[in-house]
């Protein structure tokens, strides 16, 4: 190992952040594209429609969903109710077709069948869901999960959403889903570089992946030492440290945190 422990820790956190950076860039690009579409509607003096927007969004989403073995398992645009002339409630979301126990590619993309009729029992007001609610409130990108996405694929998922705006008003969110099983494949090799135990958790302390196979993904990482390290980060410190030596770092602005224990 070269450099100090702190430097090594920071490099690991950077690599974790690097896993998410391309995904965030993708979503940012789509946000710009969707906003440009809305501006174009305004310039032409026509009302925005799902019919015009959907093919555009599909063309953006498909390459990410078709990339063999890619991280992105779902992608699309969800409209603010009432913004589109031809669809009061609208989810334009596409899914990678997944196969079998190893959750591998099946080699296809399908559109999500959403229930858009508010009178139906299966209808769910998506404005109540975290991936909508948080970006709406903060105006910023948000990472939801890991959670069981039972509206969509019934898979264990992380969802990244960011608001698209027009004339200062949110017209919807664009976003991507990543199955945790795929994320694990990318994150574990990085965590194995850690001397000791490396664990990636979300902002609530829920485990995404850990170099210790006995730390179960989806459980909350407990313990006073972990909590004090996490609290220090939440209070704005660069690094959190527990009394028993747990180190906590932010993985850039990915919202994920890295916990290191010897």
């Amino acid at each position: 190992m070269t450099g100090t422990v702190a430097e090594h820790d920071a490099r690991i956190a950077e690599q974790i952040e690097g896993t998410f950076a391309p995904l965030f860039a993708l979503v940012e690009g789509w946000r710009t594209a969707v906003q440009e579409e809305f501006s174009a509607f305004a310039v032409q003096g026509v009302a925005p429609t799902a019919a015009a927007l959907d093919p555009r969004m599909e063309a953006l989403a498909r390459p990410a969903l078709e990339a063999p073995g890619g991280l992105v398992t779902g992608a699309g645009f969800v409209a603010t109710p009432g913004v589109l002339l031809d669809a009061p409630w609208h989810l334009a979301w596409w899914l990678r077709e997944i196969h079998g126990l190893d959750r591998g590619d099946r080699g296809g993309v399908r559109r999500l069948e959403a229930v858009n009729d508010p009178d139906s029992d299966q209808f769910r007001d998506y404005r109540q869901l975290e991936w909508w609610k948080v970006p709406e409130r903060t105006g910023e990108r948000h990472v939801t999960g890991p959670y069981v996405d039972y509206l969509c694929t019934d898979d264990y998922t992380v969802t990244v959403t960011t608001p698209a705006t027009h004339d200062g008003r949110m017209v919807g969110v664009v976003g991507i889903d990543v199955h945790v099983s795929r994320l694990e494949r990318v994150v574990l090799p990085i965590l194995r570089e850690v001397a000791g135990t490396g664990t990636v958790v979300n902002g609530s302390g829920r485990i995404v992946a850990s170099s210790d196979s006995h730390r179960v993904t989806g459980t909350l990482l407990r313990g006073a030492d972990v909590q004090s390290a996490l609290t220090a980060l939440r209070d704005g410190a660069e690094r959190g440290e527990g009394a028993e030596g747990t180190r906590a770092l932010r993985c850039g602005d990915s919202s994920f945190l890295l916990l290191l224990q010897s």
């Binding site: 069948e113 139906s120 019934d154 264990y156």
Partner: protein, 258 residues
């Protein structure tokens, strides 16, 4: 003697067990029939089209059509032609009651208890894991959801329970438990929660859900599991009593006619 020891390798038998693709129209029919008679689908509600139903259930369009025809013959839906046409639920409480009563009588006690054990295994484990894994925000979110529920009608109470079961399963962080919960809800949920048509049961059911939420919030895994299992057992016991009552009534009926 245990069946397993009689020269049968259960693992091998499972490999070649027949896939259930027979009677798919009946399964679709049963699902919709249960939803209509229990009030989950409302009177006058338009059902999805044949092709939409086919896609949603993952069956052929002809299979969906066959199921709709059977429901039409039974008087549970009507089909209107034209621009605003389609199949609409016709909820007539007498017909619905007659259907439900027949369904309860047709089920054997053994079958019902077995289904109840299966559901308890899934929902109990989900509640136990949820208590271990739920954060404070999750529990708060569920409490708010509970407060919004409309418990004035049987259908409303049934939807409240279905949603609660699903949310708790999701808190277990296990996609498989969520999928199994959804499958079991579709298969036997309507029957197990039928007791919700009585107001007393609706009040009791809500109190039990709140107790389960308290246990989940307190990370008390054992209590959460126990309450989940007890809620299901309560539903099944009501159903068994109702079945006995219906059978006794039918016997009296036959006797008085003889």
């Amino acid at each position: 003697m245990a069946q397993v020891s009689a020269g049968v390798d259960p693992a091998r038998s499972a490999v070649f067990a027949p896939l259930s693709d027979i009677g798919r129209a009946e399964i679709v029919e049963r699902r919709l029939q249960d939803a209509i008679t229990s009030g989950v689908l409302h009177d006058g509600e338009r059902l999805p089209s044949e092709s939409q139903l086919g896609r949603r259930f993952g069956v052929a369009v002809v299979t969906a059509r066959e199921a709709l025809e059977a429901l039409r013959d039974a008087g549970l839906i009507e089909t209107r032609r034209g621009r605003d046409g389609g199949s609409f639920v016709t909820f007539d409480s007498d017909t619905a009651r007659r259907f439900t009563d027949e369904r309860i009588r047709a089920l054997s006690r053994v079958e019902l208890r077995d289904a109840s054990m299966h559901y308890s295994a899934i929902a109990g484990m989900a509640a136990e894991l949820a208590a271990d894994r739920a954060g404070e925000d999750d529990v708060q979110g569920l409490r708010e959801l509970e407060e919004q529920e409309d418990l004035a009608t049987a259908g409303g109470a049934r939807r409240a329970v279905a949603r609660f079961q699903l949310e708790v399963a999701a808190l277990s962080q296990s996609p498989r438990l969520v999928r199994e919960e959804l499958r079991l809800q579709a298969e036997i949920g309507t029957l197990i929660w039928l007791g919700l048509r009585e107001e007393d049961n609706r009040i009791r059911s809500r109190a039990a859900r709140q107790a389960e939420l308290d246990a989940i919030g307190a990370a008390d895994t054992e209590a959460a599991r126990a309450i989940a299992v007890r809620r299901i057992a309560g539903g099944v016991e009501w159903l068994l009593d109702e079945k006995s009552r219906l059978e006794a009534a039918a016997e009296t009926d036959t006797a008085s006619r003889a």
